[in-house]
């Protein structure tokens, strides 16, 4: 009778051991999953970063294009204005020189306004 009993208890003890193993495996799974969370997150973050970088580079490339366009446009506009300045100058030059010369010899002698003509 006692041999039978101890055999039964043995079986139960082994069953408990198995059960503990199963739970332990589940716990290990949990620990692993936490580590996975970090590594997978890092991967996703890297990809996101690459995508953003590519986006930014594309923007920069397009911007470089517009800069040189703008330069050319401004230069052309400047040339036109420069030419117009010279044309205006040549048109009005003579008149202004004459005006200057006329005014050089223009003299209007006047007594200072605070003075009165001295009576002799």
């Amino acid at each position: 009778m006692s041999a039978q009993q101890s055999q039964g208890i043995q079986t139960l003890l082994e069953a408990e051991k198995e059960a503990a193993k199963i739970v332990q495996q589940a716990r290990q799974y949990r620990v692993q999953k936490l580590k996975d969370a970090h590594s997978e997150a890092s991967k996703e973050i890297e990809e996101y970063k690459k995508a953003k970088e590519a986006e930014f580079k594309a923007f920069e490339a397009s911007h470089a294009g517009t800069t040189s366009e703008a330069q050319a446009a401004v230069d052309k506009d400047t040339e036109v204005k420069l030419k117009s300045i010279t044309d205006q100058y040549n048109k009005n030059k003579e008149a202004v020189v004459q005006k200057l010369l006329d005014r050089v010899v223009l003299v209007k002698p006047e007594l200072h306004r605070n003075l009165k003509k001295a009576q002799s």
Binding site: R30, N92, L100
Partner: protein
């Protein structure tokens, strides 16, 4: 029936208990796994979101600074262009003054006008200096005409101011100059430069706004005028 169990019944009971133990373990394990999966998803999402926000902020800054440098570049272009225009105008202005200075030399050739001019500037000189004695410095070649002009200028001076003046003409100015006279008071302390060259120089300075308008048209950017 409370008789003791036989062997088969004992075995049965044992098996049931074993199965029960296993069942409990499996359920617990499943709970743990499910919870683990949930936590995994939450933790991963949290980490990713955190970093994404940081990255977004970083690129936002980069974008902004790229925009700013573009604006700066544009503004520099515009500024350079404006400077070119101003430079060109200045060149033309200098050219104009040079031409005027050259043509100035011809003024003294028209004798009638020149004598009248000399008279005028001498009277103006007398009226500015307001001294009883004056030395008139003219070009060497102008000494004679200057003497005549100074004489009639003195009587006109008396007309205008009621004052007398004693004058003396010296031909001390170089003939390279365009013409006109310099007056020095009797004590030598007051000098008045009324030469053609000096007058032209003064005009160059003072007439700049007028010249600008005549040469290049009015300035469209101006809002206030005296």
């Amino acid at each position: 029936m409370s008789r003791p169990m036989n062997d088969d019944e004992v075995l049965n009971e044992l098996n049931k208990m074993v199965a029960f133990i296993k069942q409990e373990a499996m359920e617990k394990a499943r709970e743990i796994k499910v919870k683990a999966d949930e936590e995994f998803a939450i933790e991963k999402a949290k980490l990713v979101k955190q970093e994404q926000q940081a990255i977004d902020a970083q690129y936002e800054k980069k974008l902004k600074s790229a925009e700013i440098s573009q604006k700066i570049a544009q503004s520099t272009l515009t500024n350079k262009s404006r400077l070119k225009l101003l430079h060109r105008r200045e060149e033309h202005l200098q050219d104009l003054f040079n031409v005027a200075r050259e043509q100035l030399l011809n003024l003294s050739k028209d004798e009638g006008r020149y004598v009248q001019f000399l008279e005028g500037v001498i009277i103006q000189g007398y009226l500015q200096i307001l001294e009883p004695s004056v030395t008139i410095h003219s070009r060497k070649s102008d000494v004679e005409v200057a003497k005549t002009a100074a004489g009639s200028a003195a009587s006109q001076y008396k007309e205008i101011s009621g004052r007398d003046v004693k004058f003396e003409v010296q031909g001390s100015l170089s003939d390279d100059l365009a013409g006109g006279v310099k007056l020095v008071s009797g004590s030598g302390r007051i000098t008045l430069d009324n030469t053609l060259d000096e007058r032209l120089r003064l005009l160059e300075e003072r007439m700049l706004p007028e010249i600008r308008q005549d040469l290049f048209g009015p300035n469209e950017n101006r809002k206030f005028f005296t």
